[in-house]
C-alpha cells in the first residue's frame, strides 16, 4: 500500500474511523432490528440477516482492524461502515416498499418480445 495504513484510508473524502468495531456493532444491530419488521420468509430478510450476522460475528471475534478487513473481505473498514450505513437506510425503505409481495402487474403482451 502506498499510504500509511493507520493515518489515511487512501480514498478521497473518507476519513479514518477511530472506533470501527463500535460503529459497526451499532449499525449491524440496528439493521437486524429493522429486519425484524419484515415477514420471516421474505428473501431480503433471509439473505441480509445471513450477511449481517456473519459480518457481526467477524466484528465481535476479531479485534485487530487489518485482520478484520481481510476476514470481511469488503475493502477498507471505513468502506464496510459505509456499506452498513447504506444497508440500514435500505432496510428501512424496504420495510415500507415491501418488495416480497407478488408481482403488482404483469407486463402487456409482447412488451418484452425482442426482436419485435
Amino acid at each position: 500500500m502506498q499510504f500509511e495504513v493507520g493515518k489515511t484510508t487512501g480514498l478521497v473524502g473518507l476519513a479514518v474511523s477511530q472506533s470501527p468495531h463500535e460503529h459497526l456493532s451499532i449499525l449491524y444491530s440496528k439493521i437486524l432490528v429493522s429486519l425484524q419488521s419484515m415477514p420471516q420468509d421474505a428473501a431480503y430478510r433471509k439473505y441480509t440477516e445471513q450477511l449481517v450476522s456473519e459480518r457481526f460475528n467477524h466484528v465481535k471475534a476479531e479485534a485487530d482492524v487489518e485482520k478484520l478487513e481481510k476476514k470481511i473481505n469488503g475493502g477498507q473498514i471505513e468502506e464496510v461502515i459505509l456499506q452498513a450505513e447504506c444497508e440500514l437506510t435500505l432496510s428501512r425503505k424496504m420495510s415500507e416498499w415491501k418488495p416480497w409481495e407478488p408481482l403488482i402487474e404483469e407486463p402487456p403482451p409482447n412488451q418484452w418480445k425482442w426482436p419485435i
Binding site: 428473501a43 431480503y44 439473505y47 441480509t48 450477511l51 481481510k70 470481511i72 473481505n73 469488503g74 475493502g75 456499506q83 452498513a84 447504506c86 444497508e87 437506510t89 435500505l90 425503505k93 424496504m94 416498499w97 415491501k98 418488495p99 416480497w100 409481495e101 407478488p102 408481482l103 403488482i104 402487474e105 404483469e106 407486463p107 402487456p108 409482447n110 412488451q111 418484452w112 425482442w114 419485435i116
Partner: protein
C-alpha cells in the same frame, strides 16, 4: 490474443479492490486456456461460467424483489437484464445501489428506446456498474407517451441530465425531477426528435431574414424528396435460423428466464 487479454484482465483488476467472495457474488472472469486446437476462432467463445454466475445473481435479485421484477435475462453476450414494472424504478435502483451484495454505485447510462408498435412504446433503459464486484447490469422499464415515470435523480444524481435528454428527445415525463427542461433542442423547438414518427429532416428549418434582422423558422423545403432505400437482399440471409429459438426452461417461480438472442 485471448491469452494476453486474460493476463491483462487478471493483472489490472486484481491489484485494486478486494473482491468479496460469497456464494451470491460474481467472481472475476477467468479465460480458460483450452487444450484442443481452436477450429473456429472467429466465433465468440461461450463463457458458460460467467453466464451461470450472472443467471444465479439474476435469480437472487428476482427472489428478493418479486413485486417489481417481471423478467430476468442473460443475453448471449453475458449481460444481465432486469425487466421491471415502472412503479418499481426507485425501489429496484435503491436496492441495487445500497445492498451490500450488489453495490451498483455508479449509473452509466439512462436512455429510452422507441418501439411504436408496442402498447407502451417507450422502453427506459438504465445501465449500472458495480466497482466492488466489477459487474454491470441493465434495468428496463416501459411507459407510453403520457404516463410519467419516477425520476431516478433521488437515487443517482447522474440521472439528472440523462432524464432531461430523454424528456427532450422522446417526451417521457419524469415525476419529481428537480429541473426537467429541454437540453439539446433549440429554445422554441416543438416535437420530440428521436421518436420514430419524427421525420429525418424535421418539420422546420431556420434561416436569417435580412428584413426582420433575426433568425426565422419556416417549414422545411427539401430540394430532393426523401428517398428510402430498402437494402434487404432478395435472398434469404440466415437459412439456418428460420424458426425462432425456443426459450430455455423457466426457472424457480417463473421470474428468471435466460434467453439466447
Amino acid at each position: 490474443m485471448a491469452a494476453s487479454l486474460a493476463r491483462f484482465v487478471r493483472g489490472g483488476l486484481g491489484r485494486g479492490y478486494n473482491l468479496a467472495r460469497s456464494s451470491c457474488l460474481l467472481q472475476q472472469q477467468s479465460r480458460l486456456q483450452s487444450s484442443t486446437a481452436e477450429t473456429r476462432p472467429t466465433i465468440r467463445p461461450k463463457d458458460a461460467v460467467t453466464h451461470s454466475q450472472l443467471a444465479t445473481f439474476g435469480e437472487y435479485v428476482a427472489e428478493i424483489m418479486p413485486k417489481y421484477i417481471q423478467q430476468v435475462e442473460v443475453t448471449s453476450y453475458n449481460e444481465l437484464e432486469l425487466m421491471i414494472h415502472p412503479d418499481g424504478v426507485i425501489p429496484v435502483l435503491t436496492f441495487l445501489k445500497d445492498h451490500t451484495n450488489t453495490q451498483f454505485r455508479i449509473m452509466i447510462d439512462l436512455t429510452a428506446v422507441d418501439i411504436p408498435s408496442r402498447q407502451n412504446r417507450f422502453e427506459i433503459v438504465y445501465h449500472l456498474l458495480s466497482m466492488r464486484y466489477n459487474s454491470r447490469i441493465r434495468i428496463k422499464t416501459y411507459t407510453d407517451e403520457l404516463s410519467p415515470v419516477d425520476s431516478a435523480v433521488p437515487v443517482y444524481i447522474a440521472a439528472n441530465w440523462y432524464e432531461r435528454e430523454v424528456w427532450d428527445m422522446f417526451g417521457v415525463f419524469f415525476a419529481n425531477h428537480p429541473d426537467l427542461r429541454r437540453i439539446l433542442t433549440d429554445y422554441g423547438f416543438e416535437g420530440h426528435p428521436l421518436r420514430k414518427d419524427f421525420p429525418l429532416s424535421g418539420y422546420v428549418e431556420v434561416r436569417y431574414d435580412d428584413e426582420l434582422k433575426r433568425v426565422v423558422a419556416e417549414p422545411v423545403e427539401l430540394s430532393q424528396e426523401f428517398r428510402k432505400f430498402d437494402l434487404n437482399s432478395p435472398w434469404e440471409v440466415f437459412p439456418a435460423h428460420r424458426e425462432p429459438k425456443e426459450a430455455a426452461p423457466k426457472l424457480e417461480a417463473g421470474d428468471a428466464s435466460s434467453e439466447k438472442k
